[in-house]
């Protein structure tokens, strides 16, 4: 156990190094530091993959009953999705949020030592991947929109107030870039999130014979979905751009965090990872 614990600690430290060195490289204008950040994050991701693989070989499908495994898997998924987004969008700012997010999720997976989760009967891999896979991707997209939203608001304030653009902000991409990230997150993320929610409710209706059980997780999910739907509608139909979608995405991500951390760990719910 200690060996695997040590292994996980190394992964967390590598993510930490990545999270620190990238903004540092930006601030100090050292391209070498940025490269180091990329390499440490890549190394962390590689080890992380190995770690997940080992775990899966060790316990197999039973892993799916551990909250810890979910968090770790989610962190891994985030990095993977962000890497693909980076490939597609080629925007450096993604590097700024990837490593910290992976760090937070991964280390919270280390912090929780949960008991076996009561996975509902009729547990089917298909439903599971539909419900969990889509939620992972859409959460990653919301996280990206969150990062892009913060950067947008920061840069927009600088431009609007005609403040001096310090060296750090000079390296930031344009407002349009951040807005495009939001556009991507909304146009892909919302359908995926809807699928996930739908799959969850259907699954619940098969398992518990009722669509909604007034579980805290379900309630907050409905709130998130409604807000997401509003954002999707305003953006796609009314052509919202800039500040408003950026702010909405930030609220959305905070709600997701509340739902993820608060509900799964603190409140009694059948999504709970608690003992």
């Amino acid at each position: 156990m200690t060996a695997s614990r040590l292994f996980e600690l190394i992964i967390a430290l590598l993510y930490l190094a990545g999270s620190i060195s990238y903004p540092l490289g930006l601030a100090l204008r050292r391209p070498a530091l940025k490269r180091i950040a990329a390499w440490t994050s890549a190394a962390a991701f590689g080890l992380h993959t190995v770690d997940l693989g080992l775990r899966f070989m060790e316990v197999g499908a039973a892993n799916l009953q551990h909250g810890q495994f979910y968090m770790s898997l989610m962190a891994w998924f985030f990095v993977l999705i962000f890497f693909m987004l980076w490939w597609k969008l080629k925007h450096d700012f993604l590097s700024m949020i990837t490593a910290p997010l992976a760090l937070i999720l991964f280390s919270s997976s280390l912090a929780v030592r949960t008991q076996v989760l009561a996975v509902p009967e009729h547990f089917s891999v298909l439903w599971f991947s539909l419900h969990v896979g889509t939620i992972f991707v859409s959460l990653a997209l919301i996280a990206m929109a969150f990062g892009a939203g913060l950067a947008y608001l920061h840069l927009e304030r600088l431009i609007k107030t005609k403040a001096k653009l310090p060296g750090f902000s000079k390296e930031l991409p344009s407002l349009e870039t951040f807005d495009k990230a939001n556009h991507w997150a909304v146009s892909i993320g919302f359908p995926l999130y809807s699928i996930s929610v739908l799959a969850g409710f259907l699954w619940a209706s098969f398992t518990w014979k009722k669509v909604i059980s007034w579980d805290p997780k379900e309630l907050i999910t409905i709130v998130i979905w409604a807000l997401f739907a509003l954002l999707f509608h305003q953006r796609m139909v009314l052509g919202w751009r800039g500040r408003k979608p950026a702010k909405t995405a930030i609220i959305l991500f905070i709600l997701c965090l509340v739902s993820l951390v608060g509900v799964n760990f603190l409140l009694p719910s059948h999504h709970s990872f608690r003992q």
Partner: protein, 442 residues
């Protein structure tokens, strides 16, 4: 070694424009004009002549009064009295000359700190010197280093990363709002010198096209032709605002021509696509309140001036950092130059040989097994050492013979150092610029 590097010249700080005009040397070939000659005191020369400076970079004999010699050549060539030059020129030798050249190349000596034109001018001057055969070992190396120092300064400091002219500041701001200017159109409302300059900058930054809206359509059409754009009558201003994303306004109108309440309607029709207004008119053309609207950005002339002033102050700070880089590179260059002496080269050669011998010996001894016979080891050691000395003997004695001859010593030592890679350096991309020019010219 009797060769020294000299830098003699004048610049915008030491001489007024009248002097600079009279002593400009835009088309002077130092070889043909007799400054550089095989038997003479000057073995290499390069002349840099721009509107802000005229400088001679010369490698020549230490014994001659190089400053007087160059000034005389210079004054004769310009047919001006040499006395006029004396009080306006500086003369640096050795390390100081190298430092000055690197400082100039990094645009730390430019009138506007960090403006990069000087690098291009320096490259042209160097190319000319190479074509005329006036640049050899030292000038070649010196200029290659100067270019790489300039590159280092540009990448490692923020000295040239901010705009210091109003029209360029506008372009830079546009880049902070839009990712790719080629997807956006610009609109010119009214004409005026500064507006046209900003439009030119925008076009060269890649803006898709320029639309001109003017009170008198004929004038607008004329301007549009100049930018290969289109003109629209003034009444269609709001239509034009729907189709363009960057608006430069400079009309003589006494009241605002674009008001916040009109803009709301325009924005809805634009589906909230961002729009950037640059108002360089006084009195202002655009209601300042529109800056408060989402997805609308407005900069007026004072805002832009402020940006420029801040950027200039920022450059001063960065210049400190850049000077540190220059100093570092100067001492690296001086180390290389000292290495052109014979004795250190011989030592470096033998060191290299012995190093190789030692490494190979260690590998071979390992192959002998865990407990090698001491006698065999001793024999192998002798073999390695004498092989190394015998192999290096011929090149060394050749170098010694050549260095007796005045003039060619440095070339041979330099070649030997490169052949054996004694300075262990990566070959820069433009290392063979001189050769490429020569073969390209044929």
């Amino acid at each position: 070694m009797n060769q020294e590097i000299y830098l003699v010249g004048l610049n915008h700080k030491t001489a007024g424009v009248d002097i600079r005009e009279r002593f400009a040397l835009s088309d002077c070939d130092p070889a043909a004009a007799g400054l550089v000659s095989d038997g003479g005191a000057v073995s290499e020369a390069m002349i840099l002549s721009t509107c802000n400076r005229v400088e001679f970079l010369v490698v020549g004999s230490r014994d001659a009064d190089m400053r007087a010699k160059i000034l005389r050549f210079w004054a004769d060539h310009c047919a001006q009295p040499v006395a006029d030059l004396h009080s306006h020129t500086y003369c640096h030798a050795g390390e100081e000359a190298v430092n000055h050249l690197f400082t100039v190349a990094s645009s730390l000596d430019s009138m506007i700190l960090g403006e990069p034109q000087i690098l291009g001018q320096l490259k042209t001057a160097y190319r000319k010197a190479v074509e005329k055969g006036a640049a050899r070992v030292i000038v070649n190396r010196l200029l290659h280093k100067a270019f790489s120092v300039a590159k280092r300064v540009r990448t490692e400091t923020a000295i040239a990363s901010s705009a210091v002219s109003i029209s360029y500041a506008a372009v830079e701001l546009a880049r902070k709002i839009f990712t790719d200017l080629t997807n956006h159109r610009a609109l010119l409302v009214g004409a005026g010198e500064m507006a046209e300059l900003a439009a030119t900058h925008l076009l060269s930054a890649g803006v898709r096209d320029i639309t001109v809206v003017n009170r008198t359509l004929a004038k607008g059409e004329e301007l549009a032709r100049q930018f290969k754009g289109r003109a629209m009558p003034f009444e269609e201003l709001h239509q034009a605002l729907l189709e363009t994303d960057i608006v430069i306004s400079s009309t003589g109108s006494p009241t605002a021509i674009i008001r916040a309440k009109d803009m709301k309607e325009v924005l809805r029709k634009r589906r909230h696509r961002p729009i950037f207004f640059i108002d360089i008119a006084v009195p202002r053309d655009i209601d300042p309140d529109i800056n408060g609207l989402d997805n609308v950005y407005l900069y007026d002339i004072d805002d832009l001036k402020e940006v420029v002033e801040e950027n200039l102050a920022g450059r001063q700070q960065e210049a400190q950092k850049a000077r540190g880089i220059v100093a570092e590179e100067v001492s690296a260059f001086m180390r290389w130059r000292d290495g052109l002496e014979l004795q250190p080269t011989i030592v470096a050669l033998l060191d290299q040989g012995e190093g190789i011998a030692r490494r190979e010996l260690r590998k071979s001894i390992k192959q002998l097994g865990p407990d090698p016979d001491p006698q065999t080891v001793a024999i192998m050691e002798r073999l390695a050492k004498s092989l190394c000395h015998k192999i290096y003997h011929e090149p060394i004695s050749y170098l010694k013979r050549r260095s007796q001859e005045e003039g060619s010593a440095q070339r041979f030592i330099h070649n030997a150092r490169r052949m054996f890679n004694l300075d262990e350096e990566a070959v820069p991309e433009d290392a063979h610029l001189d050769r490429k020019i020569q073969s390209g010219g044929k």
